[in-house]
């Protein structure tokens, strides 16, 4: 019997950084699998190594011991098309909003005839229609974040890595975009790895939550979220599930112990 390989898998992964000559272990013995089309949240406190995991998946960071495979192929050889929403917007300030999205589309070799429609569509999705010709410094911080969200979605990736993408937004806008994110995701089921330190965000979005502890970073528990979709922000089930997730998270990270 043949089985389709996991979209992403980590096996016995260890990672350390050397700072001023001394080696410090950042990630210890990380093992997990992500299925195609799954929505995973990495939940952990600041500095536990969440961004580092995304850097490893994306191939930005190539120094580690252990195995990382994408579609069953070692990361280094993988051709999978992925998109990374960084913690900061990382836009090109010398280009206008629309040209920033065109940059990603050109990089992803999307035919030029589609640029206009895609740009319009994804800017509309993040409520930024009308800012096409603005330069980046003419936008507020939150608007810049939304442009980078539109850019990440516009290339239609197989895997979407998101690093606390809504941290800089006000809660109402963040809710709006989370909802659009889920709608999008339910339409074409990309594989998403989403980093957050907000348990409510994690329970609202995820199929499974990977809870991490720090020093060195480990995945202590994988919590499935069995709530049906679409989920409602104000619902009692979400509230209950969040409460449970929160108490597990507190136990694991030992902040109140």
């Amino acid at each position: 019997m043949t089985t389709t390989p996991y979209k992403i898998s980590f096996k016995n992964l260890n990672k350390s950084f050397t700072v001023n000559g001394s080696k410090k272990q950042i990630l210890r013995n990380i093992n997990f699998e992500v299925e195609t089309g799954e929505f995973i949240c990495l939940l952990g406190s600041s500095g536990c190594g969440k961004s580092t995991i995304l850097n490893l998946i994306s191939g930005l960071d190539k120094e580690y011991s252990g195995e990382i495979s994408i579609d069953g192929i070692p990361q280094a050889k993988s051709q999978a098309h992925l998109s990374y929403l960084f913690q900061e917007p990382r836009l090109l300030p010398w280009l206008t909003v629309e040209k920033n999205i065109h940059f990603a589309l050109e990089a992803a070799k999307v035919p030029k005839t589609e640029w206009k429609d895609r740009t319009e569509h994804y800017l509309d999705l993040v409520n930024l229609s009308g800012t096409e010709k603005h330069y980046i410094h003419q936008l507020s911080g939150g608007m810049q974040h939304r442009v980078s969200i539109a850019r990440a979605f516009s290339v239609n990736p197989e895997i979407l890595l998101m690093d606390e993408p809504f941290g800089a937004l006000d809660e109402l806008t963040a809710r709006d975009i989370r909802k659009s994110l889920l709608q999008l995701w339910q339409k074409d089921r990309k594989t998403v790895v989403f980093v957050t330190h907000n348990t409510l965000e994690a329970t609202y979005l995820a199929d499974r939550i990977f809870m991490m502890s720090s020093n060195p970073g480990e995945i202590d528990e994988i919590v499935p979220v069995s709530l049906s979709r679409p989920r409602e922000y104000e619902s009692d089930e979400l509230f209950q599930t969040n409460k449970q997730a929160m108490s597990r998270f507190v136990q694991i990270s030992g902040q109140l112990a």
Binding site: S83, F86, W94, L95, F103, A107, Y135, V155
Partner: protein, 280 residues
């Protein structure tokens, strides 16, 4: 009298709408701005004139005498051909300097080992006085067009390379990562990510390099060329004719000022339109 908003009573008693008044006001300010510029130029000329009153015309001719010499020079056409030759040297040396500077700066910026090794060379290269380059190159290679341009290039290229190197070093690694993640190829990365980051350094180097190059060209012409503005200045100097020295110098300065104004008023605002405006 009622004080309607947006309506202002002028001394003649007629009413002007607020926005009309504002547009007149802004025109006035613009005119004053231009006036200031003219005022500043005129007072410079006035200062020259006053000084020339206290000195003999052999030492400092007044502006009118200089203008006459200029008309003479331009009239007999010689100055234009000398100006042309000097401009040719300036442009040639400038392009050579910028190309070399970009290449050296990028190589230094891309490899730490190379940079560590050549750092000292660069500092030495920048420290050697221009006169030493000129004398040594003329001695070794003779008084040729090639050695003139080479000498000018040597005096500027190290500083330019150093500037470009700074630019390469200060490139944002995070933007490079972004470009990598989206799968941008080399060409796209150079066009949209690397080059725009270097542009401010390239422009600053270009302006600095141009200024230094044209001063050096004049100097080199004076030392070892049979033509060009530098040669002419030296020629009139040996005849002790100050008004023609000034006429040659001023003609050349005007041309260089035009180029400088073109860069700062026309080119740079277009290149850096994306930058937030700094308030004056």
């Amino acid at each position: 009298m009622s004080n309607n908003e947006g309506v202002i009573l002028t001394s003649e008693g007629d009413y002007l709408r607020d926005d009309k008044l504002q547009s007149i006001g802004s025109k006035l300010v613009a005119l004053l701005g231009k006036g200031k510029w003219m005022l500043s130029l005129l007072s410079l000329v006035a200062l020259w004139w006053i000084m020339s009153l206290y000195l003999t015309s052999k030492v400092l001719p007044n502006p009118i005498q200089t203008l006459k010499a200029m008309v003479d020079d331009i009239g007999d056409g010689a100055i234009l051909s000398h100006l042309g030759i000097t401009m040719f040297r300036v442009i040639f040396a400038f392009v050579l300097t910028m190309t070399l500077g970009l290449v050296i700066g990028c190589i230094m910026g891309l490899s730490r080992k190379v940079a560590g090794f050549f750092n000292l060379w660069m500092v030495v290269g920048m420290t050697i006085p221009a006169l030493v380059y000129i004398v040594v190159i003329f001695l070794w290679l003779g008084l040729s067009e090639f050695s003139a341009i080479l000498a000018v290039t040597c005096t500027t290229v190290f500083t330019i390379s150093f500037n470009i190197w700074e630019g390469v070093k200060s490139m944002d690694k995070k933007l490079m990562e972004m470009s990598f993640i989206f799968g941008a190829d080399k060409k796209l990365t150079y066009r949209k990510v690397i080059f725009p980051q270097l542009m401010p350094y390239i422009m600053a180097s270009a302006r600095f390099g141009l200024g230094l190059t044209w001063k050096m060209v004049i100097f080199v012409e004076l030392m070892g060329r049979p033509d060009g503005i530098g040669f002419m200045i030296n020629y009139w100097y040996s005849l002790y004719n100050m008004s023609h020295v000034l006429s040659n110098a001023i003609t050349f300065i005007i041309v260089m000022l035009m180029i400088e104004l073109f860069i700062s008023r026309w080119l740079e605002p277009r290149l850096f339109a994306w930058r937030p405006k700094t308030s004056h």
